[in-house]
């Protein structure tokens, strides 16, 4: 078997349609008879709804219907959305009603849906719906919400506590008793919004006498949507089809299930017409899940050499007004905590709380960037206190290269040990130290300082648990014309899965990449799938494709051996043609074999063979491959204006074997930029009454081209022993360590002013205050 594509920088098969404007995103799809919808949303952070008057809206010409919850069938009047990820530790798994029943708990919560001939008419009508609110006290800051006398985010609930979580292993008390030093750090983390450039969107069509309900959604997880919506509506999953077409970025929040995915189908069912709803950017700011504040208080027990002996602390996590996504976000802030470091003992507790703000769920990296930031804060503190070099303090604490598989001491939910499969953290650090010119930095810094300029450098290391199971599946099918179809459930939001899966398949079958096409993310076309989250598709879906392609090849060789009267061992495959070695005229193509295996009426099926030259596999990785990386940021801070410029950024990353290094670099560079945005720009501001204040791109800053540094990326390839391809996920490894690297670099630049940063994003105003005042930053939410 030749390897031509695995590991090659193959150009993407997705691109020809996307660079010519021929992509097909939700809003590009029009169905015959389709109507358009606009949501009426709460303008209050917390209120009781006294009444809704939709008469004027209904009277507007071109309006087909206005639905409040009461206008849907009675069975839905007291049925909140189904919790997609239930967990016993969820004290209050509260989900919203798809349209508010009698209480609204955040600005933007859906209250009614207006359906009209056109979007324009629907917008006009939505403006005519009058909602009479009785305001209730709102709680906005998670640090307030946790207090016993805080206003309640939900009237009538016992308190604001969603869950109390704890991750603990080792002898923490002993670690602190034996420590040469104990350091405490307190900081506030804030990650902002999703901001995929395509907002969310849903089209629903219900054909009860035909194939049932079809939902087209800009989702990362069509199978989760199918499960959830079918359960909510009380329908058979086999008669709910969910399709994700081209999706313009996901980054986490599109993995959840949203009210519109229920309300739009209900409206379509009631009207007997397809209905389309497209989120606008203002709605995106207030209703697509965000990832806001976490307050951390952490202590490190350290020996005289700067080695961590133990970590303990407490976190308050803002979950927003509801629990749209179980505890996946808060849990992923805790479980990856030790990071690349051999921490013998750890005990961190977290209070997950409600506030009257948009619900929270993971954004690129989920809680991992928070966990990485937390550990990197401790490591930075150790370095500062013990006067150790930033790289050196990490070397002293890493899990050693010969320490794999490494048992962190933690357990999965099923009780099995959480293990790092492979890696070489110090090797990665060496690479980034080299790439970034770390050794020459002191000189650069001194030269700049002599000119009155303040340069700083920041190091950050991380691990990423990737490829979470339990599976993703794939069918590999050779068509009679010799083309190969891959079907999979795994949805793409731009990562290039079509190319990646085709690469794996092409090598395994020995066919040309051009002869493969991929059909993905349609529950009507492939029976089961999980979804695109947590850097899991390469690991899970590629493994399934690899395995299915192997079965197809085996079957083809068996049949070819019979047909050519040769033994399988004497056959070789090249470019889709199976031949007998050394006998050029003895050959048959995959296409001919596929045709032979799919005869029409009366035709013979080869004895002992099942029909079709195809195979389906759900083979998956054996555990969660651990990717890792070290980053170095170099910044300049203008001490007059507080402006931070990232001058250069270097990454050494290890995601095992790379299927397509060009696409891996794309993931890393894009991810780093997201992390820089978290460090410097992205802040969702709510006032004390829970009104969002910066719902536009003039005031909510996203990273733009002029603000981004050159980003250099190098790789280390430590294959994963968990899967046959040796791969690990790569989707979030750029984002996870980036914020910590930038913040450390800013502190390094401002060492003469003793500046300690205690919250991000770091604004110029705050930096100016810190430079003037000395000491540490504090920020209210």
């Amino acid at each position: 078997m030749g390897v031509r594509y695995f590991g090659a920088e193959v150009r993407r098969v997705e691109d020809p349609r996307l660079v010519t404007g021929k992509g097909r995103y939700v809003d590009d799809i029009e169905l015959p008879g389709m109507l358009e919808a606009v949501m009426v949303r709460s303008t209050e952070a917390h209120a009781r709804i006294r009444s809704i008057d939709a008469a004027a809206a209904r009277a507007l010409p071109g309006v087909h219907a206005v639905f409040t919850l009461q206008d849907f069938p009675a069975e839905y009047h007291d049925r909140p959305m189904v919790q997609p990820y239930p967990a016993p530790v969820l004290l209050q798994p509260t989900t919203q009603h798809p349209l508010a029943r009698d209480e609204v708990c955040f600005v933007g919560q859906a209250i009614a849906i207006v359906v009209a001939e056109t979007r324009h008419i629907a917008e006009d009508a939505a403006g005519l719906v009058a909602v009479d609110y009785e305001p209730l006290p709102a709680v906005v800051d998670c640090r307030e919400a946790v207090k016993t006398d805080a206003p309640l985010a939900h009237a009538g609930s016992p308190d604001n506590i969603v869950a109390r979580l704890r991750v603990a292993f080792g002898e923490v008390e002993t670690a602190f008793a034996d420590a040469a030093h104990v350091f405490e750090e307190r900081f506030l983390q804030h990650r902002g919004g999703c901001h995929a450039m395509e907002c969310r969107g849903v089209i629903a069509e219900d054909r009860p006498l035909h194939d049932g309900l079809t939902i087209v959604s800009a989702t990362q997880c069509p199978y989760l949507v199918r499960r959830n919506v079918a359960a909510y509506l009380g329908r058979d999953e086999g008669r709910v089809r969910v399709v994700a077409p081209d999706v313009g970025g996901g980054f986490g929040p599109k993995a959840g299930v949203y009210a519109e995915e229920i309300v739009v189908p209900l409206a379509a069912a009631a009207l007997g017409r397809p209905v389309k709803w497209i989120e606008d950017r203002r709605e995106h700011f207030v209703t697509t899940n965000t990832q806001r504040d976490q307050e951390w208080t952490l202590e490190a027990a350290v020996d005289a050499d700067g080695k961590l002996l133990g970590v303990r602390g407490r976190v308050i996590h803002d979950n927003g007004a509801f629990v749209p996504y179980g505890l996946l976000l808060p849990m992923t802030s805790l479980t990856p905590l030790p990071g690349p470091y051999a921490v013998p003992a750890l005990d961190v507790a977290m209070d997950v709380v409600f506030t009257n703000t948009a619900p929270n769920s993971p954004i690129r990296g989920a809680g991992r960037p928070n966990a990485a930031f937390a550990m990197e804060r401790l490591i930075a503190r150790v370095a500062r206190e013990l006067d150790l070099d930033q790289a050196e303090v990490r070397r002293r604490n890493y899990v050693p290269a010969d320490g794999f598989p490494y048992d962190t001491g933690q357990k999965f939910r099923d009780g099995s040990a959480i293990k790092y499969d492979s890696g070489d953290f110090e090797g990665c650090l060496d690479k980034v130290v080299e790439l970034s010119g770390y050794a020459g930095f002191a000189e650069r810094q001194a030269e700049a300082r002599a000119e009155g300029r303040y340069l700083g450098i920041g190091v950050s290391s991380c691990i990423e648990d990737t490829g979470v199971g339990p599976y993703e599946g794939a069918t590999v099918r050779v068509q009679p014309d010799g083309k190969v179809q891959i079907q999979t459930g795994a949805a793409s939001q731009g990562q290039g899965h079509e190319t990646m899966l085709a690469q794996v398949c092409a090598d395994r079958l020995d066919v040309a990449l051009e002869d493969i096409y991929v059909r993905a993310a349609d529950t009507g076309a492939f029976p089961q799938g999980v979804g695109t989250i947590g850097s899991r598709v390469a690991v899970n879906a590629s493994t399934a494709v690899f395995d299915a392609a192997e079965s197809v090849r085996d079957k083809a060789l068996q049949l070819a051996a019979e047909r050519l009267e040769a033994s399988v061992e004497d056959l070789e495959v090249e470019d889709g043609v199976i031949g007998v070695a050394g006998v050029p005229e003895m050959k048959v193509t995959y296409g001919e074999l596929a045709k032979q295996l799919a005869p029409m009426a009366g035709g013979p099926l080869p004895k002992g063979f099942s029909p079709g030259l195809e195979a389906t596999s759900y083979r998956t990785s054996e555990g969660m491959p651990t990717a890792s990386g070290s980053n170095i940021a170099e910044v300049e801070v203008d001490i007059g204006t507080g402006e931070v410029r990232v001058l250069r950024y270097s990454v050494a990353h290890d995601c095992g074997k790379m299927i397509n290094p060009m696409m891996v670099d794309g993931q890393i560079v894009g991810g780093v930029v997201h992390g820089i945005g978290n460090a410097l720009f992205e802040r969702l501001v709510y006032d004390e009454a829970g009104q969002p204040l910066n719902n536009n791109y003039g005031e909510y800053l996203l990273p733009i081209a002029t603000e981004m540094p050159p980003i250099a990326v190098t790789h280390q390839e430590t294959p994963s022993p968990f899967n046959p391809l040796g791969i690990k996920g790569a989707g979030e490894g750029g984002t996870i360590p980036a914020t910590a690297a930038v913040v450390a670099a800013i502190e390094n630049a401002l060492e003469p002013f003793d500046v300690v940063i205690r919250s991000y994003p770091v604004s110029p105003e705050e930096l100016c205050d810190l430079i003037e005042g000395g000491g540490a930053s504090e920020r209210s939410a």
Partner: protein
């Protein structure tokens, strides 16, 4: 009250004559009336640049311009960048070559913005390209490969930080 106006214009080289509502913006006109859905809407408040099209050769945010204002003008959308026979423009090719797109949602706006920019600045620096797309937001790529593609389309492949 619905007010409409009769307009005629050229879109991707083809003459168009039609009646439009006065409040219809150019992006919705292109997408809804002409079914040219390559032009994307990312913010509808003039910041993200996804909706950029060329109006008489100038890069314009079609969410901030009314269809009636395009009366008599020559509009080029992303669908009009490739040659008649489908051959990609050098910039489109370079986007593929340099992995300058992931989800592709910002791509039409990037391509149209850069097409106008490179026509007027055939030998730009890295910095100038970044300035040129500073009004286009991309959440996926981190911009670096887009800059690389733009420079490559001019024949100058040198870019800091690329390795």
């Amino acid at each position: 009250m619905k007010h409409t106006h009769r307009i005629s214009l050229t879109v991707n080289g083809r003459p168009v004559e039609t009646e439009v509502e006065d409040r219809l913006h150019l992006a919705d006109f292109l997408r809804r009336e002409l079914k040219l859905t390559g032009t994307h809407l990312g913010c509808e408040h003039g910041v993200c640049g996804a909706c950029t099209v060329l109006v008489d050769g100038r890069a314009v945010r079609s969410c901030l311009m009314l269809a009636v204002q395009a009366r008599g003008s020559d509009v080029t959308t992303v669908e009009g960048l490739a040659a008649e026979d489908g051959t990609l423009s050098p910039l489109q090719e370079a986007f593929r070559e340099h992995h300058a797109l992931q989800c592709g949602f910002c791509t039409p706006g990037m391509l149209t913005s850069l097409t106008a920019f490179l026509r007027d600045n055939p030998a730009p620096t890295d910095r100038e390209v970044r300035e040129a797309i500073s009004g286009n937001i991309c959440r996926c790529t981190g911009y670096q490969p887009i800059v690389a593609a733009a420079l490559a389309a001019t024949g100058d492949e040198a870019i800091e930080g690329e390795n």
